[in-house]
Amino acid sequence: MADRIGFDVVSPERLLLSEDVEMVVIPAEEGDMGVMAGHAPTIANVRAGTIAVFSGSSVEKRLFVAGGFLEVTPERCTVLAEQAIPVEDIDVGQVQSQIKDLSEDVSRAKDEREKEALEAFLALAQAKLQAAEQPAYR
């Protein structure tokens, strides 16, 4: 059996997930990153996307994260995320209506600052939708 690495997802409010896994693929800022036991210590930014937990060659679990940070030490892999939900729990209809509302708000935004903030929300919602509709690593 392959070595396993401890994998934690923590939000500011609590520990969301903590288990030993064979491999996780994490959406780092500069491309997806696979982490297995014995990975070099790394700190990276995480973009909004899907974390895939692998068991063997198939995906065991998918989590959507809204960005955060990744820390890898030889024993552990920790994702600090503000928001993380299992992909199958995403309510597609709700996200779609959210996207619709947000795009309307963006076009009505009064100043640059507001527009930027709204666009960030919109991008997040779109990433969520994509995660739900086209799961990565099938």
Partner: protein
Amino acid sequence: MPSLKDLRGRIKSVQSTRRITSAMKMVAAAKLKKAQGAAEDARPYAERMERMLTSLAAGVSPENAPKLLAGTGSDKVHLLVVVTSDRGLCGGFNGSIVRAVKARIKALEDQGHEVKLLVVGRKGVTLLRREHGPKIVERYEDLVKPAPAFEHADEVVAKVREMFEDGAFDVCTVYYNKFISALTQEVTPLQLIPFQVPDVEEGEDGDDAGEASQAQYDFEPNEEVILDSLLPKNLSVQVYRAMLESFASEQGARMTAMDNATRNAGDMINSLSISYNRMRQAQITNELIEIISGAEAL
């Protein structure tokens, strides 16, 4: 001299006060348990973030470090973020923090610094308004309801960062009550901006710290970019932590205060009952004397 009826009324009213205080005590105890749990749940995130920041900060040269890390280079204007409670009846909880803040304001002003205040919690606003009203630049009342959430901290930090980017202050310190036990809270200042790198030497006894100092991290994309996104997040985390601690302290302080009040009410009921009984006895004796002397006169 109060009449028997007066005494009866007073005993009744103290009894109902005792009922209320003992109920409040129990509510506070239940909330305290929850608040302590929340504070513990938040710990892993804060610890890891601090570890990452420490190793990042060590790798960045001071010249191109972001302002949030290095500060503006001056310390003229101080922003004090004061975390208090929205509700009273919690003993010296708000009083002690306000006292510490006032002392700090005085010390800073004596050194010629300018002070601005950002107050979280209605009680803090009430207590600081009279003396330092014009210094309060922002206040949050009833923000933390029913319990602190990360969004609340984010809201406060958004304001702090906006002010920092506008150059409204140079140094930012949070004042909050650190939870030590249900009986004791400690007013703790925590400097947010510029970021204070925790002492590595000191932390070396913990397993986590040892692990961190050994690890030579790879950074992706690079230190500066990660720092830029990590530092603001760290502010929120620190403020969130301060809010959680303060909330737990508030419940602890209220529990203790209400416990004392309940006990005092009990003592008062006892002494009132004794004087009530004495008076009743005196009245009976009096009536007897009257009857007997009336009978003798016949």
